[in-house]
Amino acid sequence: MSVLLLDKSSSRQAPATAVRKKNYRLQRILTETGCLALAVVLIIWTLAPIYNMVMVALQAHNDVFTNDIWPAHPSLYSFWIVLTEGYWYLEYFWHQFGNSLYIGVMTVFFTLLIASLVSFSVSRMRLRNGWLLTNAALLTYVIPASFLAIPLYRIMQGYGLGNNVWSIIAVEVTFATPYAIFIFQQYGRSIPIELDEAARVDGASPLQVYFKIYLPMMAPALVAVGTYALLLAWNEYLYQFLLLSDKRSMTVPVALAQFLNSDESPWNYMMATAIIYAIPPVVIYYLFRGRMTSGLTMGGVKG
């Protein structure tokens, strides 16, 4: 490079270019170092509570109450206790796990069914005044779920659904459908309406158009919304805590929070339960992440 710069016309500029090059390289090194430092900080920040969870789960009960910052005698004993329901708080663990799963699956089914039907009617069949329904959905979406908890609790008792998993399914469906409608209507715009019209001309009934054209074309949105609804139902706590008090109708998060009432504080069992409870949603999240990002992630905020 310097050989090239020996040319007479550019010899005056040579030092300046070299300095700029040097500055540029220095700047790049500084930027890279800064990014690396930021990365290290981010990793520590992100993983600290998760590390704490794993560490406590691996400790024996007595080791939890020490000043160790990593487990002195790591063992999977706590996980074994949880899996075999070997502690009295965990008596119905698998039953409760099943309840959570059942609620999740039912929530997905009814959310997809109800939201896709109403979206089909409003945006594909162009029901007049359908915007009223869209607005109702948007209103529900922006009302914090916890603000409706008190009246909804009493109403559920009035409906005779106290201590019944169906009350939870109803609540989760209520709070998952608005986002589903929002996404279905947005996604539906990318499917040409002519498809529906052609089918109608050929004599298909609305029900046939819904099943044979609308649902297959909406598959990606259905997957995204289904994942969202499943995670919402699995992760939700407040309503499950309020409405399910019986050990056999409880779900995992409610059982988990029950540990906090205990005097013995079996933190290692609690953290092992927490990890087992967290694994399914984390796996599902990472599996379906690609389908949920850039557009379809939006609703996950509702707690």
């Binding site: 981010l42 914090p144 109403i155 469906v173 409608i181 850039s294």
Partner: protein, 305 residues
């Protein structure tokens, strides 16, 4: 179809028929019946589990004496202050951090992608396990944080959750940011990715780099998204129950409650549902404008999220 309605437009019709037509639109006979039938499940859910609870809640909290009672309660006064701090500091620090980090995650390279996968972990893990873990981590005697402080500095760390209101509230806000920032970073990252690369190339030709590139291109294009995200996040944070409940539990001595948790406490721990509803309703002056703005913004799809 259009010609029929033009002809009929001049004819006087009874009120009932025109109302029916207004609802039917272009749909005929059985189609209209199908369209209505498809809406019935959602309308049922909305009426039974949204409209009715709202009306019932308004009725429960209609007595003005309740608000006087709340206002004279020092715990409620603290709760209002906490809620405001939680919203203003928590939401804005989180959103601004997310904005900056989304810029960082635009960098190329496999390790940035890997880092992003780790960074979204707090969002992927359910709220409860992580908040319980943070609660134990902040335990003054046995918690991980104070153990590390002891190992590094050889001093006793403070009692994060059980001595001072401000330390506990600060812990809650930091936990909240830890949990929620990844989600908004991903949203803003998607927003940044949708900005056409040509704009940056054109700016580079004009000599704009670094900060100026951000000020003149990224920010104006992201501003609307950023605003909607902040508003939406504010309203969701207003209803956030889990963070306070599991990190500080409202303690020490009920000084770190926010409206969402105080309402539930009043209703279920001291069995005063009317008082709980009233506590929640005091958020309405903030909520109603937010709801109206958001519904407008989301409906017109100004934000393609």
């Amino acid at each position: 179809m259009a010609s029929v309605s033009v002809i009929e437009a001049g004819r006087p019709v009874t009120g009932r028929r025109s109302l029916l037509r207004a609802w039917r639109g272009g749909l005929q006979g059985s189609e209209f019946a199908w369209a209505i039938a498809f809406c019935i499940p959602y309308v049922g859910v909305f009426l039974a589990f949204v409209a009715y609870p709202i009306v019932y809640g308004l009725w429960l909290g209609h007595n003005p004496a309740l608000y006087l009672e709340l206002w004279q309660d020092p715990i409620f006064q603290m709760t209002i202050v906490n809620t405001i701090i939680y919203l203003v500091v928590g939401v804005n620090v989180k959103m601004f951090g997310a904005l900056l980090l989304s810029g960082f995650f635009m960098r190329r390279g496999w390790w940035v992608k890997g880092l992003l996968m780790i960074y979204v972990l707090p969002w992927a893990v359910p709220a409860l396990p992580t908040f319980i873990s943070i609660h134990w981590m902040l335990n003054s005697q046995w918690g991980l944080l104070n153990n590390v402080i002891w190992d590094v500095f050889h001093i006793d760390g403070p009692g994060w959750l059980d001595t001072s209101r401000w330390l506990a509230l600060g812990s809650v806000i930091v936990s909240y940011i830890w949990k929620n920032m990844p989600f908004w970073t991903v949203i803003l990252l998607a927003g940044r990715m949708s900005i056409p690369q040509e704009l940056y190339e054109a700016a580079e030709v004009d000599g704009a780099t670094g900060m100026r590139r951000f000020v003149h291109i990224s920010f104006p294009l992201l501003a609307n998204l950023y605003l909607v995200c902040t508003l939406l996040s504010t309203i969701f944070t207003l209803g956030d129950f889990n963070t306070v409940t599991f990190v500080s539990g409202g303690g020490p001595a009920l000084t770190t409650h926010v409206l969402a948790t105080l309402g539930i406490r009043d209703a279920f721990e001291i069995a005063r549902p009317d008082l709980g509803v009233a506590a929640v309703m005091t958020a309405l002056p903030v909520m109603i404008p937010l709801v109206l703005i958001l519904m407008r913004k989301l409906r017109t799809s100004e934000v393609q999220l």
